[in-house]
């Protein structure tokens, strides 16, 4: 599998013929990887390209992708948010508990989102005002938020969530004989909004500026602390959106939900070309990165790779993707 992909990748990394501007785009390399994977799976399995399967893949990647949009912004400022897995579980759990307390669905969702925003604010304050390294601050938050999940539930899942809420994750919009999962619509909407936010608004410019050169940004009058707090809040908010979609899809809010997802989210951002050194990254790239991780997961199962080998291959893909990205940068 890994050997199959490499030729396609190296070709994409060496622009030398037409369409140079497209090829030079940050996203082009990862896009080629994704295309190669999809092509391979369509040819060598007869189940992959069925609409039900495609949409199942897309539904399952929704929450990771939406959270990765936020993670991407944090990483662009030169930080990292390790708490996203816990935040995803926590926000879904809060929404679930509110529902069980007979709060109506919109309010319960708002409650879940608010829980996310509060955690994001705390992350931001720890990083800026308390001057904690982002790795440490959000590692602490990872444990605290997960601990709250266990503490609030005593370890038991919150079950029997109302159908109105579950539709958020389970409803399919009829379209040309197929059903488009509602979470996918959320991915597209948030993707477009966040891409516009990053590339077109004053705030987006500041995010790139702070990540690119924090000293210069500060000297130019940008409040770097405010920008950082903002990205941690946005990241946690988007993660909470993902958490609620996930909970609605599963119909259960388990205290263990989304454990370890921070690695999928960070991997999606990084495979999608977000530079851990800060200053670089795009929403489109992250979207492709999230898709690669999900196609990989499903694809390996389809071609008969034992689930026990999954993580090893995922790890390999992450490392190879970053190495290629480094190569591309050195060539510049």
């Amino acid at each position: 599998m890994a050997e199959e992909k490499e030729p396609a990748v190296t070709q994409g990394m060496r622009p030398g013929f037409a369409l140079r501007s497209i090829m030079r785009a940050q996203e082009f390399g990862v896009f080629l990887i994704l295309a190669a994977m999809v092509l391979f799976l369509s040819v060598f399995t007869n189940t992959f390209f069925k609409s039900t399967n495609i949409f199942n893949i897309l539904r399952a990647f929704s929450w990771v992708a939406i959270s990765a949009f936020g993670e991407c912004m944090v990483i662009i400022t030169g930080g990292i948010d390790l708490s996203v897995g816990s935040v995803m579980g926590f926000s879904g759990l809060i929404a679930g508990m509110l529902l069980r307390a007979s709060v109506n669905a919109p309010l319960a969702v708002a409650g879940g989102l608010a829980a996310g925003i509060v955690i994001g604010l705390l992350n931001g304050l720890m990083v800026t005002k308390a001057r904690l390294p982002p790795f440490i601050a959000t590692l602490g938050m990872l444990l605290m938020a997960r601990g709250l999940c266990y503490g609030l539930t005593g370890g038991w899942p919150v079950q029997d969530l109302p159908q109105g809420f579950r539709n958020l994750g389970q409803f399919d919009i009829p379209f040309l004989g197929a059903g488009i999962p509602l979470p996918l619509v959320f991915v597209v909407v948030f993707g477009v909004v966040m891409a516009m936010f990053l590339k077109r608004t004053v705030w987006g410019y500041r995010i790139y500026a702070v990540g690119g050169n924090e000293v210069a940004s500060g000297l130019s009058g940008i409040s770097t602390d405010r920008v950082k707090i903002m990205v941690y809040i946005l990241c946690a908010f988007l993660t909470a959106v993902g958490g609620i979609l996930m909970t609605a899809r599963l119909g259960v809010a388990a205290p263990t939900a989304a454990s370890g997802y921070e690695l999928d989210v960070i991997a999606a951002a990084v495979v999608g070309g977000t530079s851990l050194a800060g200053g670089e990254g795009t929403i489109l790239g992250v979207l492709i990165g999230a898709a690669i991780m999900q196609v990989l997961r499903t694809g390996l199962v389809l071609i008969g790779v034992s689930a026990y080998w999954l993580q090893a291959v995922q790890g390999l893909v992450i490392v190879v993707a970053i190495m290629l990205d480094q190569l591309r940068k050195r060539q510049r």
């Binding site: 516009m196 077109r200 608004t201 004053v202 705030w203 987006g204 410019y205 500041r206 790139y208 500026a209 990540g211 690119g212 050169n213 000293v215 210069a216 940004s217 000297l219 130019s220 009058g221 940008i222 200053g279 670089e280 510049r332």
Partner: protein, 506 residues
């Protein structure tokens, strides 16, 4: 525009001290609108500190600043900007992954009209149009939508200038703007500076290249040891006179060299070249000799040292240690062969700041203090103790972290590390930069002691008095090449400076 008599900017009696150093001592500086002022002086003369006070990066201890006749307090960089003072540092303050336009309008991007603007949407069309307009004012042909990382250094500098112009700067400070530029690019820059001058902007130009100030400046101000030495209108200035003002002090008693016996060659360097940094450098170093390397910042001295130490790869040339060719592909190899390096930046390259004094002293001799891979702690402590006593390193105990020592004592720890490893050749890059006078004398005494024990020493220094006093011979570098190798007896400060600044060719 102000008339001749009333300066636009007047800095009066500016003083500034840092722990252990008096960086500025009651310095005066005046600039008129539309004037280009060259600010010169040796390293450590206080030029940068003075400019950092003007641009709000440092606060002054005493003195006052008048702008257009009014007293102003400059408390931070932001305030300096609002007063119309812009500074371009040698290290550019640009965000490399953003476009030229975004950099010029950083933190004040124009927004679109109406709801979009309220939502924070940037008006990229007008931002790029405005950026083009600013770039046109300085005749820079740079497309505003290009990312900064894709620009040459000269173009990046133009973006910095455009950034300053865009905020309507009235005073533009340029710190060694030509350091990274080629000849043609320098001409373009000067053309731009003349354009700004014609627009009534006051320009303060810090430079090490003396020939440049004759091309561009109206007046020159010389600082030395944090003091104002004098000023000259360019018409009356000559290179000799300015150099004399820069170095004018007599040799201080601080620098006392003891005689060492100079024996056979230990290091021979032939036609050493690394393209773009070091060209055709050849010299011989003898046992017991201190070979001083003089030159301006960027003349290729540190780069030569890095080649000798294996930190960079050479493109061509030969290095012979005790007559045998040496590959030095890495610093590890250099240390094993017997070459030590006391780097310019102690904290970053010379010491492990978070480790105790003891570990730092034995860092280059770990194998000798171990048996079968196990460290012999008693032996380590003995070695460290003996050096702490011998060099009188002031530390409460051997377990003190290196970061808690003073600069002079830190430097002595670095020296102890190399003394313990008994090298054949020791390269010292700015061995006394940033340490106080007393510690300086001790470091110099140690250097003499090392030389007497038969080590060949290469000493890179930007302090002329140090070079003059400590060297047996002086290698003067200019733009990557050796301009002259002078004997102790024939060298004068003026002669060294003339070769270093390119006034005299070798």
């Amino acid at each position: 525009m102000s008339s001749e008599g009333v300066p636009f900017l007047h800095m009066e009696g500016i003083s500034k001290s840092f722990p252990g150093v008096r960086a500025l001592d009651s310095v005066d500086l005046k600039v008129s609108a539309g004037e280009v002022l060259a600010l010169v002086g040796e390293n450590g003369a206080g030029k940068s500190t003075l400019m950092k006070i003007l641009s709000g990066a440092h606060r002054k201890d005493a003195g006052r600043i008048l702008l257009d006749g009014k007293v102003v307090e400059i408390e931070n960089p932001h305030q300096a900007q609002r007063l119309g003072i812009a500074i371009i540092y040698q290290e550019f303050n640009l965000t490399r992954n953003q476009t030229v336009a975004a950099n010029i309008f950083i933190a004040r991007e124009p927004r679109v009209r109406g709801l979009g603007g309220w939502l924070g949407f940037v008006d990229r069309v007008s931002m790029e149009r405005e950026a083009s307009r600013v770039l046109e004012r300085i005749h820079a042909k740079i497309p505003p939508a290009v990312k900064v990382r894709d620009l040459s250094v000269a173009q990046q500098q133009m973006v910095e200038i455009a950034k300053a112009i865009a905020v309507e700067a009235k005073i533009l400070i340029m710190d060694e703007p030509t350091a990274a530029l080629g000849e043609n690019e320098t001409d373009v820059l000067f053309e731009t500076v003349r354009g700004l001058k014609a627009q009534g902007i006051a320009i303060i130009f810090i430079t090490h290249r003396l020939e440049e100030m004759f091309h561009i400046a109206d007046r020159v101000v010389v600082l030395r040891d944090g003091q104002f030495v004098g000023e000259l209108p360019m018409a009356e200035a000559t290179a000799e006179r300015v150099v004399q003002m820069m170095v004018g002090r007599s040799l201080q008693e601080v620098f006392r060299k003891e005689k060492a016996e100079i024996a056979e060659p230990v290091l021979e360097v032939r036609a050493l070249t690394r393209r773009g940094a070091v060209e055709d450098v050849s010299f011989t170093l003898r046992r017991g000799e201190i070979l001083g390397f003089a030159g301006l910042v960027g003349a290729g001295r540190t780069e030569t040292a890095r080649l000798l130490f294996g930190a960079d790869k050479r493109d061509s040339g030969e290095i012979l240690l005790e007559g045998k060719p040496l590959t030095v592909a890495s610093p590890t190899e250099a240390v094993r062969a017997g070459i030590g390096l006391v780097p310019e930046d102690r904290g970053l390259q010379g010491l492990v700041l978070k480790l105790p004094v003891l570990e730092n002293i034995v860092l280059a001799t770990l194998p000798r203090h171990s048996e079968a891979g196990w460290m012999n702690r008693t032996q380590m402590a003995q070695t460290a103790r003996s050096f702490v006593d011998r060099l009188s390193i002031r530390t409460p105990h051997l377990r003190q972290k290196a970061m808690l020592l003073s600069g002079g004592n830190q430097q002595k720890v670095v020296l102890a590390k190399w003394l313990a490893s008994k090298p054949k050749v020791l390269i010292m890059d700015e061995p006394t930069r940033g340490i106080d006078v007393g510690a300086k004398a001790e470091v110099h005494a140690l250097m003499s002691q090392l030389a007497r024990s038969g080590i060949g020493i290469i000493m890179i220094s930007s302090e002329l008095p140090e070079i003059m006093a400590m060297s047996d011979r002086i290698v003067v570098m200019h733009e990557g090449r050796i301009a002259a190798i002078l004997d102790r007896s024939q060298a004068t400060q003026e002669l060294v400076m003339a070769y270093a600044s390119g006034q005299r060719k070798g």
